[in-house]
Structure formats: C-alpha cells, structure tokens
Amino acid sequence: MAVSILISFTFSWEVYPAIALMIGIYMGGVYGGSRTAILLNIPGAPSAIATALDGYPMAKRGEAGTAIGVTTVMSFIGGFIGIGVLALAAPLVSEFALTFQPRDYMLLAVLGILLVGSLSQGSLLKGIFAGALGIAIGAVGRDPLTFTERFTFDLQLMEGGISFIAVMIGMFGVSEALLQLHHVHTPSLRQKIGRILPSLATVKKHLPLSLQTSTIGVIIGALPGTGGDIAALMAYDHAKRVTKAPERPFGEGAIEGLVAPETANNAAVGGAFIPMMTLGIPGDAVTAIMIGALFIHGLNPGPMLMIDQPDMFWFIVGCLVTANVFMLLFGLTGIRLFTKIVEMPRAVLIPLIMLLSIVGAYAVNNSVSDVYWMLGFGLFGYFMRQYGYPLGPVILGVILSRLLDDNWRRAIISEREDLGLFFHGLFSSPLSTVLFVAVIVIFVSQTPLWARGKAKLFGKTEKTA
C-alpha cells in the first residue's frame, strides 16, 4: 500500500525514476512483510500471513536469524522465477490468464476456502467458523455489483465495508500484543547466534518445492483480481500436502512452511506484471496503481505498449531484477540486529506494536474509523485466540469473500440462472474440469472417509509386500 501513498509525489518526476521507485517499494514491501511475521507473529503485509505460521515458531525456538535467512534467499529465488517468466513467456501466460471465466475464478476461490483445513491448527470446526466469519466480514457494505446494502444496519459508517487491512492488523497485531501482556514479566528469549545464510545443501534440498510454489505464485499473480496473498496461502497448503517428511511438523517451525509462501509471493510480483504489460490489465492492486501512473506520465498502457514502446517493458524487467538483487543484499544485512527485536523486554515491545498498529491502520485510507475497526478486531481476535479459534481462516475468508461471491453470481447470471447449464459449463472447458476435479479431490482428501480408505489401501500393500 506504500505504493499508493508514494504515487502522489512521483507524478511530477520523470517517468523512469517514478516507475523504478514504485517497483522498488512493491518488491520490498512483499518481502518486508515477512520480517514482522517471523519476529513478532504480525504479518507486515497480507502476503506474509502464511509466513507467520512457521516463521514465528522458529523465532520462539531462538532461530529467528535462520528463518530470516531462508526467507530472504527464497524470496530472491521466487522473485527471479517470476521475473524470468515475465521476460520470456509474458504473452503466453496472459493468454492463459484470459481464459479464466467467472466460474473458474469461483472454483479457484472454493479451492482457497478449502485451505481452512490446513490453516486451522486444532479444531476444524472452529476453523470453519472462523472462515465463515471472515467471508461475512468481507461481504459487509454496499455490494459492488448491485449497490445493495449488506450487513450495514443502515449505518453510513458500514456502507463502505470494513477495511481488510484494518481487520488484519487488528487480528494479528493488537491481539498478539494483548496476548503478550500475559507474559510481560517472563524474560524474553535469547536468540541463537548461528548460521544465517542457508547452506547450499538446504537451498538445493528445497529447490523442487520452490519451483512448484513459484509456478503457483506466477499464475495466481498473473490472474487479474488475485495476488500474492492468495498465492502464498495456496503455496503453503501445497507444501503441506507434498512434503512427506518435514524435519519438523508444520506449524512448529518447518522450513518448508517458509519456503513455500515466500517463493510464491515474490514470484507473484513478476506474475502481476504479465497482464499489465501485455494487456494493460492490472494483475493486482499495486499494478492497477502503476497503470494509472503510466497514464499520468503520458504513456498508453494497453496491449500496444509492448509494441509501441518495447523499451518500457525491458526497463520494467530491469528494475525488477535490480530490486530483487537489492532485496537480497539489504535483506541479509542487519539480520542479527533485527533478531534483537525478539529479545527486547516486552514492556517496551508491546506499546510499540500497539503504536505501529494504529499508524498502519490509519495510513491505508487516512481514516480514523479504520483505527476503531482495527482495535475492535484486535480485542475480538484476542478472545478468539483465548478460546482456541484460529485467526488465519478469518483473514482467508475476508480475502476470498468477494472473489467467491462476485464470480459465483457472474457465473450463474451468465447461464440465465440455470443450475443445470452451470454444471454443464463446468465440463465444457478443460480448465474448469481440472479445477472442479481438484476441488473434489482436495475436499474428499480432508474427510475421515479418505483417511480410512487410505489406511486400508496401505495396509493391503504392506501385506502384499
């Protein structure tokens, strides 16, 4: 969101430095969100929500340095894969992204909702409740398709909906600060001063996973309307499914739990530029702002930009490469200093978290009511945690609410509200069919039925072997 604040003072600049600045902030912001997620359990950006799940447990074991090191290197790798795809295959990927119909977006959102299973540590029922709550929060306000008021109770304050960032900062930031109050006198953790840069062997070991999750990142990033936040969560889920024997269980500090979301969200940066550069269609909120900036600077963002001004395309690719390299350099400097944050006495740390939460919630929309929402959700999040309700699904619900709701309605309206035609449509294109089958398989694989079936199957194979 820093990009939207910066745009106003770049528009009097020359176009090249203006674009370079915005790209730097974008790349840095996607990576930087992981820092607070690991150290404080507070994601600094929506795309770092999944990073906190295993990053913070590592910091609690005194391995914050290692966690940041892995995150930085993996972000760098993910970032480069995203840029590589942008530079080499942009037209191909954008053609693919365009084939996504409303029903495909809906299926994608359903796939996202199924992540509730892997985000609820503990009770699945509580996770489902939290996810449903998130979807309801996302629906508050005037519906953007019909302008009908939903859950607004005739209050003008509610008409604009509830800021997703305010919910996120409150649920993670404030509730964490409140929770830490219980341990205000416990001496803080000593961090191990060990190796920070992951060994080549570690990188090599996780390379296959990072390639897979980067692919997820690029594609989700390239789809208009979905970005790094959904990509990171889906990548986390993917890692959980494909990693047969993690060194540590997920949720307790698994390296794979850092590798997956961090490669995916940085790969999504390159992905988001694909539809922007080839079609003039924003891949996410930040590229939407950049399209506006290009227009202000007298360029015509659209499918002809790459033909009329190919230098702009390569300039953007160049900026992304530079930003990615500096992200690695800056990311790896001062890690030991950053890990001291965790060692800070809580009496100092807690007020700081509260202060930064308030500033952050206010700055997004310059709105004081967002600060109240943030504090309210902070308090609510604190009680949810106390009663063992996971917070991840709430945020997931808020992120996916609109994607699911809008596209379901678009899809069913397109078929003249005929459910039969809608199901027929699911099998009319290979993409829809694949997504539909994926939804069914993932859903069934989370039910006890599957576990029993699998046990039987494995039991048999063991006997025969």
């Binding site: 939207s4 745009i7 106003s8 528009f11 009097s12 365009l98 084939t99 996504f100 119909q101 409303p102 306000g141 005037r142 953007p144 398709l145 019909t146 302008f147 003008q156 008409e159 604009g160 909906g161 208009p224 309307g225 539809p275 079609l279 003039g280 269609i281 924003p282 939407a288 702002i289 950049m290 399209i291 506006g292 900036a293 227009f295 202000i296 007298g298 015509n300 963002p301 659209g302 499918p303 002809m304 930009l305 033909i307 929309n365 310059n366 709105s367 809008d406 309605r409 678009r410 309206i413 397109s414 003249r416």
Partner: protein, 333 residues
C-alpha cells in the same frame, strides 16, 4: 479569562478575513472520489500540478473510496466551506438520490471546473457473431436471451447506455453480467465471459488498436477522430439525437457557501491548468472531450445532465425513487 476568549474570537475572525485575501495560505485537501489508478484519479492527478502552479499553492490529493464515491462526497460536503477541502469527482453523485445511494448530490456544491467528458461506445468480443451495431441488433432479435452485456451496477455507464438503446430501439433481451468497474468487465470481454460492453472510449481504445476487441458504434453525435472508421450511433438511428451527446464527466467541486473570491481563484487556477498542452495531449489521447467550464455554464450543464439521465433511468425502470420526489424535472419541462 473573558478577555482572552474575546481576543481569541477576534483573532479567528481576523484570520478568516485574511484567509480570503491570502488564499491559499495552507495546503488544500483534494479528495478524489475513486481509487488510485482509476480514470478520475489519473485525470485529477494530471491536471492538479498545473493548477497548483497557477494558484501558487499546494493541493494535496487523497483518495477516499467506498460506497460508489458517496463517502468522499459526504466527507467534503460536511467539511468547512473555506476552500481548503475540494472534491475531485465524477458524474455518479448526480444519480445517488434516485438510485437510493445517498441523499446528497452536486447541488450541495459549487462547481470549480468541469474538466472533460468521456464518450461512450459499444465494443464486442472479437469472436462475437456480429461486426456492426445493426448486425448486433439483428442477432439479439434472432437469438433472444443469449447475448451477454457487461454492466457495472445500476447507474453506471453501461446501465445508462443500455437504457438509451432500449428507449430508442425497444426492449433488449440480453443477459446483463455485473462487474465492479469497466476495467474488469473489459478483461472479461477479452476472455469471452461477456460478448458486448458499453464502455468509455478511453478505456477501450488501446484494446481496439491492438485488435483485442471490436468496436460497434460510438455513442456521440459525430464519429470520434480517434476512431474515424467507427460510425456514430446517430448516423444509424437519428432518434439517438434526443439523448446525445451524453457522457461521464470529471469535475472539481467546493462545498456550497465557499466565498466567491476563493471559488473565482480556484476556477481561474483550474482553467489555466486545463489549458496546459501536456494535459490536453493526455486527455485527447484517451479520447476525452475537453470542456473546462465553470460558473453558471457548469451549473446549467449539471442540471441538464441530471435531468436527461435520471429520467432515462426512470423510464427504463432502473431507479429506486422517482426523480419527481426530488424535484428533478423531465428535460424540456
């Protein structure tokens, strides 16, 4: 105690009079009704630096989104009418009352400058089974309920254009698929999720140039010099002359009650800003028609625009409350 209070009041009164003479003596807040990167945002951010130069002051632009722009409108309407809070808006507020979206419109404001107006047009997916406006109408008649039109909710440009077509040509049996803005809808058009989209020329022109969508007709009284090969809809059916030219517009507004000399200063600044060759080039490149009107001319334009549009929507059955309830007369009455 009493004396200091009186003194304070005196000081406030003094600064108030001084403010008019020295205006602006602090930063002016410009509230943009729509999000960063949108068309209102880009237009305002490109003209404002030139206006600042003419004004000799600084205008800090800020996006305030939500509730189809009503949040920004209410915010500025409720701010002090001292010329330090301005609204950078588009046409939507003129429809809030009849659409049940709010109880305020630009009648609560003094127009500083209505900068430009967009030209609507119809574009179609390249694979659509028709290549012109006439063919499209024939196809819709032959295949009722199969053509998908994009829409952006009640009161948006597509709903007005669709209402116009229905008024002129009779009922259209098409499916209206709602999107949250013309950008996402045009994306859907290119991917084949919708067949036809009524959009502003500036949003579609790059896609047309690249052959990603095909133009059917321009909704104006003459063809656009940006797309000279695309026919103006009045040349196909002269009855459209009743409603055209029509288009979404962008304007700068101050709350009603702002001192006249401040309004005059701001109007002059924006008039100068809008003359800037860079701005003109930018706007013409996107197919906008520059207007640059203020004062009574702008008031008259707003009244006429509102009358024409709300009654069109009323007759198409799209309004929540009749325009009569707000004293908005039928055009010509």
């Amino acid at each position: 105690m009493k004396r200091s209070l009186l003194g304070a009041i005196g000081a406030i009164a003094l600064t108030a009079t001084a403010a008019v003479a020295d205006y602006p003596e602090k930063d002016i807040q410009g509230i943009i009704q729509w999000g960063a990167g949108g068309s209102t945002d880009t237009v305002m951010r490109s003209v404002t630096p030139h206006a600042e130069e003419a004004l000799g002051g600084s205008i800090v632009l800020q996006n305030m989104t939500g509730a189809v722009g009503a949040i920004a409108l209410n915010h500025v309407a409720g701010a002090a009418a001292d010329g330090y809070t301005l609204l950078m808006g588009a046409e939507n507020p003129m429809l809030y009352k009849v659409m049940g979206l709010g109880d305020k419109d630009y009648s609560e404001f003094t127009p500083i400058n209505i900068l430009a107006r967009g030209t609507p047009m119809l574009v179609a997916n390249t694979d659509a089974p028709f290549d012109s406006y006439a063919e499209m109408m024939d196809y819709i008649e032959a295949n009722p309920g199969s053509v998908r039109f994009g829409s952006t909710g009640p009161g948006g440009l597509p709903s007005v254009i669709t209402a116009m077509i229905e008024t002129v040509e009779g009922g259209l049996d098409v499916i209206a698929v709602p999107y949250d803005g013309d950008g996402p809808a045009l994306t859907g058009l290119q991917g084949g999720a919708i067949d036809v989209m009524p959009a502003v020329l500036g949003a579609a022109i790059e896609g047309i140039r690249a052959g990603k969508m095909k133009p059917l007709a321009v909704f104006d009284t003459a063809a656009s010099d940006k797309l000279p090969d695309v026919p103006a809809v009045v040349d196909i059916n002269a009855e459209y002359n009743t409603y055209l030219p029509w288009g979404p517009f962008f304007g700068v507004f101050a709350p009603k009650g702002t001192p006249d000399d401040i309004v005059a200063k701001l109007s002059a600044a924006y008039a100068t800003g809008a003359q800037n060759p860079e701005f003109i080039e930018l706007m013409e490149g996107r197919g906008y028609t520059l207007m640059g009107i203020s004062g009574d001319e702008a008031e008259a334009f707003l009244t006429k625009w509102q009358q024409g549009t709300v009654w069109l929507l009323q007759d198409a059955g799209l309004t929540k409350t009749s325009p009569e309830a707000f004293g908005i007369k039928r055009p010509g009455e």
